[in-house]
Symmetry: C2
Subunit: 189 residues, 2 copies
DNA sequence: CCGAAATTGTACCGATTGGTACAATGAGTC
DNA sequence: GACTCATTGTACCAATCGGTACAATTTCGG
């Protein structure tokens, strides 16, 4: 049986927060070391590829979380609206109602995109595709479902940007509430 | 009469592209020097405050462009729909149909936000407020206009992120086309 | 308890970071 | 031509960057 390094999930989560807050360039090994309590020796032991491998692993980690908690419900739920509801709840919880920012979205903006273009493209691409699938099964025509899905994912990203720019979390909750209705769910209790 | 440094606008534009592509941390003085053809001597002559002053001036420069080409039409046009149309055209042209990314939006995401929080907040805040005003004058109820304006600005930011993530400019044009209809304009020719 | 492997701390590397100092040059004014 | 002030190139600074080397230590199965 493969022995997993102790709490690799927790490690990736901590490193992820540094990348999330400081960006790829801004996340120095000193910051990462301070946040994790690990010296360079340990960090390069777990990630021989250095900073780039760390960032790639963090992206994969986040991607896995979304695969399980967002994409899978959209794809597998018998009732597509239930899947969509689950996506919105998971999204709200992941981004801590707007307190957190989307690391993968942030990476998409600057030059670090080039290093992780495939992972970034796949993450957003699958989000849109699976949401479009659920929308189609919930009664939308194919083309319309695709556009609506793209609009919804973009709305989430934009709301995160705006919420942080305005330093106002309500921006994000308002966006999610609008999405809920727009995607065919009744207003939340 | 005040003697303006030769082509300060052009200088800020060049520096702005570096910040846009590499982010605040990633934009090194070496890159900025290479892009502008200026050595440190000149750069620190024009911006004694160093990198931070450069970024601040770049933000102000962009803000001024939006004030003239986006906010002013929204505020001053007699026909609000003409103003909105002008906003969308200016936006499409500024972001080069999605080839360019929003520097201010990118700054909002990482820690560099703290340095420029006021400028960033004002930029997006005024965008939303003036768009909301135009929407209200075009017949929307006040609250609804505010939400729609917020939704529209977020949609633009999100579309820029998504377009770059997918490396597909059509994502941005589709978003603008949807906005056009959603904000009360007839489909474009 | 032993040996092997996983893990860690520390010292070190060359390169680059943002920033400063300053002398040389530029151009325009009297 | 002399004076002034804007502009520039160069040398330099301490600090930090990402990364490497490696010996010391832990950990753990046998």
């Amino acid at each position: 049986m493969r022995r997993i390094a102790p709490d690799r999930d927790g490690l990736l989560a901590m490193i992820g927060e540094i990348f999330r807050e400081h960006g790829y360039e801004g996340a120095s090994l000193a910051l990462i070391g301070a946040a994790t309590g690990l010296g360079k020796g340990s960090l390069y032991h777990f990630f021989p590829g250095g900073k780039e491998e760390m960032a790639g692993a963090v992206i994969a980690h986040i991607d896995g979380w979304f695969e399980d908690n967002v994409f899978a419900p959209l794809r597998d739920r018998a009732d597509p609206l239930t899947g969509i509801e689950q996506m919105l709840d998971a999204t709200d919880s992941y981004f801590r109602s707007g307190r957190r920012v989307c690391l993968i979205g942030a990476f998409a903006l600057d030059e670090s995109r080039d290093l992780f273009a495939d992972q970034i493209g796949s993450y957003f691409g699958r989000w849109v595709v699976h949401l479009a699938g659920a929308l189609e099964r919930s009664g939308h025509r194919a083309g319309e479902a695709g556009e609506l899905a793209e609009e919804a994912v973009a709305a989430i990203q934009g709301a995160l940007t705006l919420a942080r720019a305005a330093n106002d979390l309500d921006v994000f909750s308002r966006a999610l509430r609008r999405l809920r209705m727009r995607l065919g769910l009744r207003a939340k209790v």
